[in-house]
Amino acid sequence: MSKYIIIFLCITILMIFVFYVLNELNRLPNDKISISAYDPPPPSEPIRPGIGDIIITGPERKPLLFSIDLSSNSDALDWQRLMSDDPTATITVHGYIDENGIFYIKNLDDAGHTNVGRIISKIMTTWRYTFYKTGDIQFYFNLPSKEAKLIIDISDLKRNPVIADYVNIHNGMLYNILKLSTDLVNYGSIN
């Protein structure tokens, strides 16, 4: 009995082998199909070696972006809520960004609009920036304005001394406010 089982197993292995070979043969292309040549992806501009003197530099770095650090727990200000609470409010926030990117409010002038001032103060103290710049920063919230609802003064911001001079720093999004069109935000001095 065991002998027949062994014979059956051998025949099964043989059949599996035969089907495997047939499958491999079918994978080869037949005469009617022409396979297009494999084109490598279009090459990009190569960095080319220079001759003569050799200058060893640090690795290439992309410019740094100074902005609100969205990876931290910075709360967002809801503009629509401010407008619905007090559409005539004008709030001036004198702030300071330290070397770690933490935003502090030095002085908040709410001109009598205490409710909106309180909301803005509570939200803005949670803001964190990337640590590439430090110094004073001022926000002027002008809710009744039609063209410049928010003015930001960044003239007193300086680059963080730990960042090497040759690294470029660009300014990104410096506020975390929802539902405020970027057209209504200006950068300049607050008089």
């Binding site: 051998c10 022409s34 297009s36 040549a37 090459p43 501009e45």
Partner: protein
């Protein structure tokens, strides 16, 4: 007295069958895994099927179906003997179907080759560049560039197929000559047999 006849019991020889099965299995595994179908021998059919192969983002490139696509310098030792002088063959593609073998045959028939002298390593830069082989390399690159590389293009390239034991000076010379045309020939493709 009754004599019993001994019947010789015949049956399937199991060890033999197992041997044959294993033999066939090993043979097929080894040969099918090592086979590389040569696509160039297949004729073009009336309808061609476009097969999109995966794109590999790499500085390495595999040999494409044996078709020559640009000027190639094949530099090797004469008769494949490392003690013999170095020979450079100039292989030029004509159309889209020139294979490496056809181009090499043409180069041999038309004597599109040159030999470097044995003392080429000890020559000064000026003397080395004055060699007929170097002048031919320079001319080949210039003629091919004038005919095919009209504008600077990152796709423009020249190929070198060199023996691994070939000295770097010849290789470097080809790089230098291509660099004379700046962005028109920004790269050279070096092919060598990998072991």
């Amino acid at each position: 007295m009754a004599f019993k006849k001994d019947y010789i019991k015949r049956g399937l020889s199991l060890p033999g069958m197992i041997d044959i099965i294993f033999l066939l299995l090993i043979f097929s595994l080894v040969t099918l895994s090592s086979s590389n179908p040569d696509v160039s021998q297949y004729k073009e059919g009336e309808q061609s099927v476009q097969i999109d192969l995966p794109i590999i983002n790499s500085n390495l490139t595999e040999k494409r179906n044996n078709i020559l696509t640009t000027l190639m310098f094949e530099i090797k030792f004469m008769d494949d003997n490392i003690n013999n002088p170095r020979v450079v063959y100039y292989l030029l593609p004509s159309g889209d179907t020139t294979t490496y073998q056809i181009a090499k045959q043409k180069a041999i028939e038309n004597a599109q080759c040159d030999t470097f002298p044995d003392n080429f390593l000890s020559l000064s830069d000026y003397a080395f560049e004055s060699l007929s082989a170097c002048q031919s390399i320079r001319k080949a690159i210039k003629d091919y560039k004038n005919a095919h590389f009209v504008e600077p293009n990152y796709n423009n390239s020249v190929e070198i197929r060199a023996d691994r034991n070939l000295e770097f000076r010849i290789f470097n010379y080809v790089l230098d000559q291509c660099s004379a045309y700046g962005d028109t020939i920004p790269r050279v493709i070096s092919r060598s047999l990998s072991y």
